[in-house]
């Protein structure tokens, strides 16, 4: 057997195993959330209205199609405790929010998921660029967001201490909607000033989370002071967002990173964190994301039939399923689209590349606000 054929055979076997694990995990998760002794009030109440019995009829991941698409409106408003599984009723509960510039934000409860997700993610980071024990800077949104605590946890798991800035993305969106671009620029500068102050304060910060827009602004601001990102001591950057395009990655790599390692991620409060295959110039800086299966799964589905997964390389809408003991979300239609990607040896399940705002919603979506 040639090395290529062997690799392919190994990947097929790994993919089959991953699928079996996903099926088993799905069964276990559904049993947990719909059982009277462990489930949360929301799903136990929903169970009464379902035309099937999840405890009997959901045995595989594919069976989750029996659920109607998850409505994100269910996450808006309280009581928030209806999402807390009985088994966790006595545990300290966090609530994380998304949106909320106007109206009621979406909320997600959490106990340990955010720590688990980022502990797992930590294992994917190369020590060479994210040295254990190094301190971190969280140059991203603060407030009632999972990301803020998650990055701090990531730093701690890796033996470091995390410095943070104040950044209110809801205010940023208001500035954009009002067309107050001068204020927007000033607010961005305010955030960058905080970052530069911390980076220059002798804290030995070598790792950073930030967004494409802020990274760009930081690089420009440092250069105006005769400095560079590399010159501040940063060696590894973990970033994310739908603006993370191949062109932007190339731009950052060629124009200002000077060899500083940067890994893109795709995630949200519901899913956790999808990692990417290594992004290389030889592959045109293509970015392919893989969900942290079996805790969450990504499918790329037909725009007109959300139960139908498109072929490899074809375009569809991103459908997300979250399967943890803390939170169960079957078939949440993301506001993004992309191309379905083949399994990869380190992530032997489907991925998604070319992630961008779903074209039908793109006009109404404000992306890359911070």
């Amino acid at each position: 057997m040639s090395p290529e054929a062997k690799d392919s055979s190994n990947l097929d076997a790994a993919a089959r195993t991953a699928h079996e694990v996903l099926d088993a995990h799905t069964y276990e998760t559904v049993q947990w959330h719909f059982h009277e002794s462990t489930g949360c009030p929301f799903w136990l109440e929903q169970r009464q209205n379902l035309k099937f019995d999840p405890l009997k009829d959901i045995r595989t991941f594919d069976d989750l199609k029996k659920f109607e698409p998850f409505e994100d409106a269910w996450l808006r408003g309280g009581p928030v405790r209806r999402w807390v599984p009985k088994a966790f009723a006595d545990r300290p509960i966090y609530v994380f929010e998304t949106g909320g510039t106007t109206g009621v934000p979406k909320s997600r409860i959490a106990v340990d998921d955010w720590r688990t997700d980022y502990s797992l993610f930590s294992k994917t980071l190369p020590d060479e660029h994210f040295p254990p024990g190094a301190n971190w800077l969280m140059l991203g949104p603060s407030g009632p967001r999972r990301l803020r605590l998650a990055i701090e946890h990531l730093a701690q798991v890796r033996g470091g201490i995390c410095f943070c800035i104040d950044l209110d993305p809801r205010w940023v969106i208001k500035l954009i909607n009002k067309g107050w671009m001068e204020h927007l620029e000033a607010y961005k500068q305010h955030c960058i000033d905080q970052a530069i102050t911390i980076l220059g304060a002798g804290h030995d910060i070598r790792c950073m989370f930030t967004t494409p827009k802020l990274l760009e602004a930081l690089a420009l601001a440092l250069e105006k002071r005769g400095q560079t990102i590399r010159g501040t001591g940063i060696t590894g950057i973990f970033s994310g967002g739908t603006e993370f395009t191949p062109q932007w990655t190339r731009f950052a790599t060629e124009e200002f990173l000077e060899g500083v390692y940067m890994t893109p991620t795709y995630g949200n409060t519901l899913m956790g964190l999808a990692c990417s295959k290594p992004v290389t110039a030889s592959e045109g800086y293509k970015i392919s994301y893989y969900a942290p299966q079996p805790r969450a799964a990504i499918e790329v589905v037909d725009f007109n039939n959300y139960d139908h997964v498109v072929g490899y390389g074809q375009t569809g809408r991103v459908k997300l399923t979250t399967l943890t003991k803390e939170f169960f979300v079957p078939g949440f239609m993301e506001r993004d689209e992309g191309e379905r990607e083949m399994p990869y040896i380190h992530y032997p399940w489907d991925g998604v590349s070319g992630v961008r705002p779903f074209h039908e919603l793109a006009e109404a979506t404000t992306v890359g606000v911070y």
């Binding site: 067309g179 760009e216 062109q247 932007w248 124009e255």
Partner: protein
Amino acid sequence: MLSIPALRWGQPYPSLEIETVVHFATGEAVANVSQANGGLVQRDMRNAQAARDALRAISCADLIERCKSAADAYLNGTLPLGDGQQSPDEFVHAQSATSGLPEHICRANMKKNHAVLSNMERMLDALTRGLDLAILTRGYGKESRGVVVSYQAQSPVLGLVLPSNSPGVHTLWLPAIPLQLGLVMKPGSQEIWTPYRVFAAMVEAGIPAEAFSIYPGGHDVGAAVMAACNRSMIFGGQATIEKHKGDPRIQVHGPGFSKILLGDDAVDRWEDYLELMVESIYSNAGRSCINASSVWASRHTMEIAQALADRLGPIEVKPPTDPTSGLAAFTLPGAAAAIWRTIEAGFREEHVTHVTEPFGPRLVEQQRCGYLRPTIVHCKSPTAALAKSEYMFPFAAVVECPQEKMIDQMGYTLVGTAITGNSEWQQQLTDATHIDRLNIGPIPTNNLDWLQPHEGNLVEFLFRARAYQIRK
């Protein structure tokens, strides 16, 4: 098919993000255009001074001569474009295919650009009031009357956020090069052609390529151009005007609300001016800010509207290659229908009459685009919404208004043609600050004298007069 890279100070930059521009009617791919990102613009602007330095190494007089050569290359030459070449015919075909303008109008716009490039010396002489251009190069100097003057460039480059649907506007920024300012352009997504052709023609004429950057891309690119350049021009609608109003760094070009005013002493002879009115409304497919969007008179207004409708109402949609085609397509799906809905809402107002109605439906929807046929409305009162509306096709309101109230009622006017021999009214019109270009007499609104400033003097926008004293 051509692949067109972005240009970073004259150097091609093929992007990993490609936008395919397509024929407005057939959907056929015309070119693959590299898309820049805002960050690229901001970073490149760190080297903006080098663009001006490269141009300042050549005298203004020499640059003017090179512009003349560039004019001929632009009009007649086969010039490099991306990974290929483009002849003048191919240019016209491509511009029409993506912008929706008839080909003969594209050719006419080429001639306008050619005329400006060829007559740069006279234009700059007029705009600077005869200033020795070496004073602009050096920053100071002595005028012929022996007075020291100083003009300081306010930016090493001029930023341009250009429109997709109106190739006639490019004449406005061409003088920046002989004034030794670099150009940082974000072309319209459907009219990428002129910036690239002007660049190729100028480089062929010996103007340094490093004076030009062209960044096709999205809104972030336009925002970056305006943020990074200390002087920019942007072309857009009323919302764009409102957004940038009062910002001295940005010159906004939007709807012109150009008008023809018939004085009481001339209005009884309105038929003598019918041709002038038709031309002002209909030329360039009604797409320019200098097209008349209203005709104001105190009497005979319904007769005037009727006569305009008789002339313009029957005009049909024709293929863009037809030399008699006078209408341009709205290439954005749904745009024509949306505009028509707004106009129809205006018809419902009291004392507003749609005079072209008997000539058949105005909205013509095709598979991938839409057209609006010429539309004339009669407004018995200046308070009607349509009396002060402007659309990107041959649309005009004939507005009934007493002469003594016109100046107060008519609102902002980019080009006002006042047909009157009444010297007192002429003086009032001359003093009216909401009229930008004033034509006294039977001059079509689209008949511009390029030796005169347009929406502000470009030289005054780019240079600041200041004190400069030397003591030895």
